[in-house]
């Protein structure tokens, strides 16, 4: 069983009087433990595809099974739970809460767990150690460099031990040496068994992945 099974996924947005089809029948399997890059230019539909895989959005038609469960028909609350338990997001501009400490940011996904694990803090501190920021736990995001902020975001994405890590242009705002660091961490995570899906337009970033798919005009090519 694949981790993600997308079959004939279509997504249509209505803008004004016009229906615009952004995804035009995407069929895609993502296996457990894979490191996949989805490449595309802006407007290619790659972000919409990522939202779909990340359960932030549901397809207009088609089927999407995550860990064997059909998610395209779930309601908002159920999608929230799926995101919480199975998916970790990493964004281009880090998206940390500016008024919360590093540790509080990492702990964010644990707040919305239905079952409390009671060792969240320990887990979060371990992850901060893993990304080399254990001594920054009490800092605020604006006291950190861009690379450090993205490492906090990675720790946050991992804290609920998701099966799938979704990274949307994770190095887009970083200089090349910092970008390399981040990609190294993602590769490490993948080596430890986490499935990583990378969304990017950048060849160099995509090259870290083991499989590269290209999306253009709403279709995989």
């Amino acid at each position: 069983m694949s981790l993600c099974e997308l079959k004939e996924i279509r997504k249509t947005y209505r803008i004004g009087d016009e229906d615009i089809e952004v995804l035009k029948g995407i069929t895609l399997n993502i296996e457990k433990g894979e490191f996949l890059a989805i490449m595309g230019t802006s407007g290619s539909g790659k972000t919409t595809l990522m939202n779909m895989i990340g359960c932030l959005d549901v397809p207009t038609s088609g089927s999407y099974k995550l860990t064997g469960q059909e998610v395209s028909s779930l309601d908002d609350d159920e999608l929230s739970t799926i995101r919480n338990e199975h998916i970790g997001f990493i964004f281009q501009s880090f998206h940390l809460l500016p008024y919360a400490t590093v540790l509080e940011n990492v702990l964010l996904p644990t707040l919305y767990l239905d079952k409390r694990r009671h060792n969240e803090k320990e887990l979060a501190m371990n992850l901060l150690k893993l990304v080399g920021l254990q001594d920054r736990a009490k800092f605020r995001p604006n006291q950190l460099s861009g690379g450090q902020q993205q490492r906090v975001a990675i720790a946050r994405a991992l804290v609920n031990e998701p099966e799938l890590l979704l990274a949307d242009e994770p190095t887009g705002q970083l200089d090349s040496s910092t970008a390399a660091e981040i990609m190294k961490i993602l590769t490490e995570m993948n080596n430890k068994g986490t499935t990583v899906v990378l969304i990017t337009h950048d060849e160099k970033t995509a090259s870290h992945a083991k499989r590269i798919l290209k999306i253009s005009d709403g279709m995989l090519v």
Binding site: T81, R83, L97, Y112
Partner: protein, 404 residues
């Protein structure tokens, strides 16, 4: 419960983080709650004072005053009650254990040696002291014989004792009331001031017979009658009976208005409370308006905040927060702030009550009621005006929110 606790703790962090928003919302709520607290405390204080007053003057008593409402309204203060009415009530009402007539003259010149004073002279019977529960603390009361014999004797208030006699013992001394010499036989206990601020101790009481014949040239009419009843739990019924009885005695036709008024302790309470009423209403209107304004301030600042924090909302939604989690977070941020505002408002009200007491002779009574009223209203503002922004936050599309 864990989840709720987590969300609540996020609200606490946000309330601390967005200081300016917290500050403005908190103070605008606090001002409204302060006004409300003062109102509740003032109303309670007024009632408390009124009940104390009634308890002191006799919860089992009614006062019958000459002149109906209409006559008073057009400025006529004719006396309509008579000494015969007093006797008739005594005979016909078994449970009336005291029935005492009174007449008063105000602005009467009295003097002792070279000291002069203007005061109110009351004529009554030897039961005056008991019917008002107002003991004679020095000397003695005047007697039935004094009343029957039209004797020139008086009991005086403490204020008169001070004004005319200073440190001298007034008992047995003769004062002049208008032109007649009167012997002071007793001094009444100190009573303080009325809610209107006039001294109750600025008075002298002489036998009503003396007052009527020698000062008023009057044989029949008295201004008021005060009666006390054994069965005070049936005072309302007695009040009606007295009304019927006097109407019949005064030969009033069914279409005629009463030519007297019967005042019960309940009405005294109402009257006394109404006196603080105008200030209370003013404060009440101010309080409610400022609370509504506080609500709009809160709603506006929260709407702004939701807009400003749309990215945060998107992040929370992406990491697994449900709509209800977001709603709860923003709602509890609002309620935390208004609760703090409510508490601050209560203490502001409490602190400013001292000032109000000085300025307006305002009786305040702070109880859990004022506290609870403030808190409940604060919560109402928090929930009432926080709900719409919180809903807006909860219903944001996570994809749009995060990209903003």
């Amino acid at each position: 419960m864990d989840r709720l606790y987590n969300i609540f703790s996020q609200s606490v962090i946000a309330v601390k983080a967005f200081k300016l928003r917290t500050f403005f919302c908190l103070f605008s709520v606090a001002l409204g709650i302060a006004a409300i607290t003062i109102i509740v405390a003032a109303t309670e204080g007024a009632y408390k004072k009124a009940y104390e007053l009634v308890a002191r003057f006799g919860p089992d008593s009614i006062l019958i005053a000459s002149g109906g409402d209409e006559a008073r309204a057009i400025g006529r203060f004719d006396k309509t009650l008579t000494m015969d009415d007093v006797e008739a009530i005594k005979e016909n009402f078994d449970t009336a254990y005291l029935v005492v007539p009174m007449s008063a003259m105000r602005g009467i010149n009295i003097s002792y040696r070279d000291k002069k004073h203007q005061t109110a002279v009351f004529g009554s019977t030897n039961d005056y002291s008991s019917v008002w529960t107002w003991p004679v603390v020095a000397g003695s009361d005047f007697t039935e014989d004094d009343v029957k014999g039209l004797r020139n004797v008086a009991i005086i208030g403490t204020y008169i004792a001070e004004q005319l006699f200073g440190s001298e013992d007034p008992i047995g001394k003769h004062i002049r009331v208008k032109n007649i010499p009167v012997e002071v036989v007793g001094v009444l206990a100190e009573r303080g001031t009325t809610p209107m601020g006039s001294s109750l101790d600025d008075r002298i009481i002489i036998p009503i017979t003396t007052l009527m014949r020698k000062l008023q040239n009057e044989t029949k009419y008295v201004s008021t009658i005060r009666a006390r009843f054994v069965d005070h739990e049936r005072l309302a019924i007695r009040q009606l009976e007295i009304k019927q009885f006097l109407r019949a005695r005064h030969n009033l036709r069914p279409s005629d208005p009463d030519d007297f008024r019967v005042i019960t302790p309940q009405e005294v309470v109402k009257f006394l409370v109404a006196m603080t009423g105008s200030l209370t209403i003013f404060l009440g209107v101010a309080g409610v308006i400022s609370l509504v304004v506080a609500g709009f301030v809160l709603a506006n600042l929260f709407l702004l905040s939701v807009k400003e924090r749309s990215k945060e909302i998107g992040i929370r939604r992406a990491t697994g927060a449900k709509k209800s989690d977001i709603l709860m977070q923003f709602l509890s941020e609002a309620v935390i702030i208004t609760t703090a505002g409510g508490l601050l408002g209560f203490f502001l009200g409490y602190a400013s009550s001292g000032l109000l007491k000085m300025v307006a002779e305002f009786e305040m009574h702070f109880s859990w009621k004022a506290f609870a009223a403030g808190l409940v209203l604060a919560w109402a503002v928090g929930v009432g005006f926080g709900l719409q922004p919180a809903r807006k936050a909860a219903n944001m599309n996570p994809i749009d929110a995060i990209r903003r």
